[in-house]
């Protein structure tokens, strides 16, 4: 068996090299995995790649991705998204950064409708980025708030990632769900405060030079722009909470509901349906082909004994429980920069959780910290799903560098949230202890 200490720098070094050269991400990941598997694992093991390709594209849980993208493109083409941002403009227009905060709020609601992260990020990318850019918001604020807000999907229940963690860690899923709520809100609030401050300090990128205040009458009239989006949210959430739909199925309510909403808005026509379908296909392909490559890469890394490597690192740490805890966070952050969530959980959770329990920490508490780390991983360069998704939806005027820069403050805020939750564990544990 090859030494993971040898494979690690080679794998991630070449990954960084090819990504930096500008090789299409899916092709860089897929091709590199194939070559590495051939030389370091076995030619037979290459068969893993079609198996993973089929698994990832035929997973019912992932079907929410195209469905929510379709919902978003439909809402955009039927101008419902415009109406929604117009309403927000009327109410928060006088507030520098108000639309970005509105975006964070919508992302938070979106997080409650989906169990996976990609769906919210890309849908909000379709809806919110053009709406914000056209209303005098800088790239920085528009991109950052969508990328960061979109990552809340796995922290606010329902969450497929929590279920995966719960199984590996033998931890209550109900407690994890409950534990994610307050930290999720805390992060949303931190983001909002930051956007507000940024808006005050840099008005030019938060609503443009002129700010208009609107009369009460105008505000009230604009409220009709909320009716359709709220109706849609109510149907998706309602179908889940009333037991009509499973979490994945509910996305179809969102997609079908968007068609109905477009009809109500008298904007339903064959052309917009067709264009939405095409755009959905193109964006979904962008996402899934990266997932296919990334899952091959993390499977390869798993098979090369990544777990043994990580285990050695953790066991080599100081005996102080908090040093070990922080060491684990650092490892998760580092892995989050180069690997996908599923791979990180498979590699680290079976090692970390028993140690955490042995040290006397609460596995639910640790689980939430873990999930926040996974969220940060969606945002950290060079490999971050949300960064790539934004690259796929953002206009051509936006470069990858813009995206990388835009998320840095939000990553720092999420690290701050991790620190707050370590210092005040009650933020995580209050609800689980109160409910269960």
């Amino acid at each position: 068996m090859p030494d993971p200490l040898l494979v690690t720098p080679l794998l991630f070094g070449s990954m960084l090299f090819f990504l930096a050269l500008g090789v299409p991400i899916a092709i860089a990941l897929g091709g590199l995995s194939a070559a590495m598997i051939y030389f370091f694992w076995s030619p037979m093991a290459l068969n893993m790649m079609p198996l993973r390709a089929f698994q990832n594209t035929s997973s019912f849980e992932y079907i929410a991705i195209p469905l929510f993208i379709f919902m978003a493109t439909m809402l955009q083409k039927s101008r419902i998204a415009e109406d929604l941002y117009d309403t927000m403009q009327k109410f928060f227009g006088g507030l520098r950064g108000g639309l970005a905060i509105g975006t964070i709020i919508i992302c938070t609601v979106f997080a409650a409708m989906a169990g996976i992260s990609g769906a919210a990020t890309i849908s909000m990318g379709v809806l919110a980025i053009p709406a914000m850019l056209s209303r005098g918001y800088g790239k920085d604020m528009a991109l950052g708030s969508v990328a960061a807000g979109g990552s809340l999907g796995i922290l606010i229940p329902p969450s497929v990632t929590m279920i995966v963690y719960g199984l590996v860690a033998n931890t209550s899923i109900g407690k994890l769900y409950a534990g994610g709520v307050l930290p999720g809100l805390l992060i949303a609030v931190l983001f909002s405060v930051y956007l507000l401050l940024r808006g005050q300090l840099q008005p030019s990128i938060a609503g443009g030079a002129t700010m208009t205040r609107y009369s009460l009458g105008e505000k009230l009239v604009s409220l009709k722009g909320l009716v359709l989006p709220l109706g849609l949210v109510a149907s998706v959430l309602g179908s889940i909470l009333l037991g009509v739909a499973s979490v994945s199925e509910a996305a179809a309510i969102g997609a079908g509901g968007a068609i109905v909403a477009a009809a109500v808005r008298r904007q339903l026509n064959w052309q917009s349906m067709q264009e939405s379908a095409f755009e959905t296909l193109l964006l979904s392909c962008m996402i899934f082909w990266i997932i296919i490559g990334a899952s091959a890469l993390s499977t390869f890394y798993t098979a090369m004994g990544a777990s043994r490597l990580i285990e050695g690192m953790v066991l080599g740490l100081d005996l102080n429980p908090y040093v070990i805890l922080i060491g684990m966070q650092v490892i998760l952050l580092a892995l989050g920069m180069v690997l996908d969530t599923v791979g990180i959980i498979l590699i680290t959770a079976p090692i970390f959780v028993p140690i955490i329990i042995q040290l006397g920490f609460d596995p639910v508490w640790f689980g939430i910290l873990y999930i926040i780390n996974m969220e940060i991983g969606f945002l950290t360069p060079p490999f971050g799903y949300n960064l790539f998704y934004l690259r796929g939806v953002a206009p051509d005027s936006v470069s990858m560098m813009d995206i990388y820069k835009s998320v840095i403050p939000f990553i720092l805020l999420m690290l701050l949230a991790v620190a707050i939750c370590i210092i005040f564990p009650e933020i995580i544990l209050y609800l689980p202890n109160a409910i269960f």
């Binding site: 198996l51 698994q55 497929v160 199984l167 899923i173 889940i240 199925e249 798993t302 098979a303 028993p354």
Partner: protein
């Protein structure tokens, strides 16, 4: 330096009793008995390939070995795969199941069935029961009427024949679906497995008897890798499989009693279907798998073998 190192993917998560049994009583034991000539790296379920395509994975040598679940392969192999992983309304204890495989000749039949798919069937991994947890009490056949229960394959047909509404759903969705009421019930693992999935938080009735009291997974080996082994190591692996099976049953038994007690303390009630009613239900199930005989071939042989053994047991 010519030590053999094999990768095994388990059908379970690290730390679960079947995983520990695989690690300790198969991997470690084989290594020790062979004087280190063979050793194993054990990976949790899904780490290297999806279990649904596990037959392909092992047959092409993606890993040399894996623990797989026959029920997933009925679509590739026909009903012999269902018979191999266990059918409701038949055997009741792990000992019966062991005898069926090792002393009644079913092991040879299973080997023949899997050989056609490039997989050497080393042996069954006898497993703890697969039980039903429900949001409503179930104490009779009539209680299945309109019950939305997560299940698939032969079992789904069985519940449907009693008026239930079987729903297929992946593992990641069951908890939330039970919580919101998309599902009324789910047939999943034994008590410790169900507790691990937190089902007791959202489904307060534990149904007994178990619909699948003695299911099994199995140890699949890549045929080429198997053929290349020296005879003495083959013999060691053949015995280690049995040790691992019984170790799993024993570990699970301890954990299951504890899990059931803890779930009861947290408000779960045991919902018992009376013996007479249960016997009638099992008859319904038996009708379904006896129907497999009509397909001829290995399935027919398997049904005949099972019926013959049940007759010996006086059932």
């Amino acid at each position: 330096d010519d030590a053999i190192v094999w990768r095994i993917q388990s059908n379970l998560n690290a730390g679960e009793p079947g995983y520990v049994a695989l690690q300790e009583k198969f991997a470690n034991l084989s290594k020790e008995l062979s004087g280190g000539r063979i050793s194993f790296e054990v990976y949790p379920v899904g780490a290297l390939f999806p279990i649904k395509d596990g037959l392909e994975a092992v047959s092409v040598g993606l890993t040399e070995m894996a623990v797989l679940t026959g029920g997933y392969y009925a679509g590739k192999m026909g009903p012999i795969a269902n018979l191999e992983s266990g059918v409701p309304g038949s055997l009741r204890t792990p000992i019966e199941r062991y005898n069926f495989f090792y002393n009644e000749g079913f092991l040879e039949l299973a080997r023949k069935a899997y050989e056609a798919h490039g997989v050497f069937y080393l042996g069954p991994q006898l497993s703890s029961s697969w039980d039903i947890m429900s949001k409503k009490p179930i104490t009779s056949m009539a209680d299945f009427q309109g019950l939305k229960i997560r299940s698939f394959g032969l079992e789904a047909k069985w519940y449907e024949s009693m008026g239930a509404t079987p729903v297929f759903m992946g593992g990641g969705e069951i908890y939330t679906a039970l919580a919101t009421g998309v599902l009324d019930a789910a047939r999943w693992a034994s008590a410790s497995g169900n507790q691990n999935n937190s089902f007791h938080e959202v489904a307060k009735y534990y149904v007994q008897p178990s619909p699948m009291p003695v299911p099994n997974n199995f140890f699949a080996v890549n045929q080429t890798a198997w053929n290349a082994l020296p005879e003495d190591i083959k013999a060691i692996l053949n015995q280690a499989v049995v040790a691992s099976s019984f170790d799993y049953i024993a570990r699970a038994d301890m954990l299951d009693s504890k899990a059931l007690r803890e779930m009861q303390e947290s408000g779960v009630q045991i919902s018992v279907i009376p013996d007479a009613e249960w016997a009638q239900m099992e008859e319904e199930a038996a009708k379904l798998w006896k129907g497999y005989a009509a397909q001829g071939g290995l399935a027919q042989k398997g049904v005949e073998m099972l019926e013959k053994f049940l007759a010996k047991l006086g059932r």
